[in-house]
């Protein structure tokens, strides 16, 4: 296996200087036709491909963007579709900008350290965070280093990093209003993890909405997964067998609640109404189909990416961008 050819060798073969080859490779227009032709031929014959490390060492650009998911792979690729949706949106937008997506999972401390090394090592032109746990200082650190950074979800703690989030409170308020309108009065919630802003804000939304209506609250906690939803639902039924509605902070938990309710002999929606949050694609396929609060997940990814690219281009961007949520009524209420 021959050594990979360099600019030098292409130049020699084409009978020109390295600089000229570089110009042709990078599409400069100031090179004479026949020379361009000769260079291209040499490139093709040698199978030349530029060494990206060498290039970015001088240009200070890498044309790639990191999307960091501070989660174990198990969480990211549950059938939750939230992370995939964000990835999808990001990748669409990056595709349009002809930039490369570098996906980094950072569930473990080692992963977190690796991400830090990679991003601070100038290996990417910017960093996107999809979800944050607790008050992770990394986004703030990167931003302080001058590395363009955008988060999904308001970062907890002191950091002032631009972010994109959805209107959690508004969505929950509409869901609860919908339940109240249909006569429900004993409305429980299966809350999400309280170290994540989505979990926190949805629970706050529930509390505020019930308080405004003068109704009592009933809370059990899950971590957005199906298993945790089933456990929480069982707990709620134990504590309050006569509850007549449940708002789950994720569709996955709502789905498990549906099944748990049925297993307990209750009818949905006759005995208990169920509302989820997310509107993942299988929500329309549950039994019965799930009423839920839709959040425009893919849109989050797209908006984050556009903001990041503008930031990287030196533009000023808003500190917060909030996207709307919508109630999607189906048969579970």
């Amino acid at each position: 296996m021959a050594q990979r050819p360099t600019l030098e060798e292409v130049a020699r073969r084409a009978g020109v200087s390295r600089a000229t080859v570089s110009r042709v490779v990078n599409g400069s227009t100031t090179v004479a036709g026949p020379i361009q032709e000769a260079v291209r031929r040499a490139v093709a014959e040698l199978g030349y491909a530029p060494n990206l490390a060498a290039r970015s060492l001088v240009t200070h650009r890498t044309d790639s963007i990191a999307l960091v998911m501070p989660e174990a792979a198990t969480r990211v690729f549950s059938d939750d579709q939230v992370f995939p949706g964000i990835i999808h949106g990001v990748s669409q937008e990056l595709e349009a900008a002809d930039k490369q997506l570098v996906l980094m999972l950072a569930g473990s401390p080692a992963g977190h350290a690796r991400v830090r090394r990679y991003t601070t090592g100038r290996h990417v032109d910017g960093v996107l965070f999809a979800s944050l746990h607790g008050a992770d200082p990394l986004p703030g650190t990167l931003a302080a280093l001058g590395i363009p950074t955008v988060c999904s979800g308001r970062p907890l703690g002191e950091q002032s990093v631009p972010y994109v989030d959805v209107d959690h409170a508004g969505g929950v308020a509409r869901a609860v209003a919908h339940l109240i309108d249909s006569g429900r009065r004993r409305i429980a919630t299966i809350a999400g993890p309280q170290d994540m802003v989505a979990g926190i804000e949805r629970l706050t939304g529930y509390r505020d909405a019930l308080a405004a209506a003068g109704l009592p609250t009933l809370v059990a906690y899950g971590d957005f997964t199906r298993d945790s939803g089933a456990a929480a639902m069982r707990e709620l039924l134990d504590r309050r067998p006569d509850l007549d509605a449940v708002f789950a902070a994720s569709d996955l938990m709502a789905h498990a609640a549906l099944r748990t309710l049925r297993d307990s002999g209750r009818q949905v929606p006759q005995d208990v109404a169920v509302v989820g949050f997310d509107d993942i694609s299988s929500a329309a396929y549950t039994e019965p189909p799930l009423t839920t609060v839709r959040q425009p997940i893919r849109q989050i990814g797209r908006v984050m990416t556009r903001l990041l690219l503008r930031l990287a281009a030196g533009e000023q961007i808003d500190q917060a961008t909030i996207l709307p949520t919508t109630l999607i009524p189906r048969a579970s209420t």
Copy 2:
């Protein structure tokens, strides 16, 4: 925002040479204690992080591995879980090796070109392909360039690139045998796309199994998605209203078939038995729970990764690695 500090500046601050700082940063043991200490302090004070491009320019390593999915993001992040499962497995194994995962979606021609540029540009130490369409020449090209490459699924065409695949034929044979054993005789299939090896082999498996049993075949085509499965199921019912079993080449298509059958007034499994392929996590949650052929998806990712790392380390590896499939009987048969 000050310019990022370089080795040089750290060296000056610590009162040593660049070489010494490099040694400390890279964990060399041949540096005296007090000097190490001084260097570390300078690194911390300056917030120094090595420039990865400069490093890989000389080391010829990047400590990152590309996972290429020649698919549109829509396909990759459907709720299919196959790609996510592979990503998951790969990322687990890469985590153990402390290497960075670079995920590349290459659904469009532009994406494909970007991937080619990136991988041939020595931006990664090796390349994993998760699924291939048609006889994509890229894996062969990379392998010929001496870039460690491993595919998931046997590459079509002339290429001799090492790959990992599952025993499609064996799994399908067991599924069909299971149907025949339970008295089914008019067994249709919803086949996958015929430009992908998984689609091809599962259909071949079905044909072989039915031929061996002396039963007639009935085939409709989908592309592994739910929508295509619903359409294919309707077509099958039109053509053969009295069919008594369906083998779908993916769980998503099987799920849609379940629903389509019910909508047509048929009972599953009384009137029609349904078997899927994949065993995605929601297969246990369909109505009724889906009998399916489990393929060890995450394992595919792990095995591919281990092979790639060995290849990158200069070891010899097998051309083909085939993982077993298992029939998971549930209520749909």
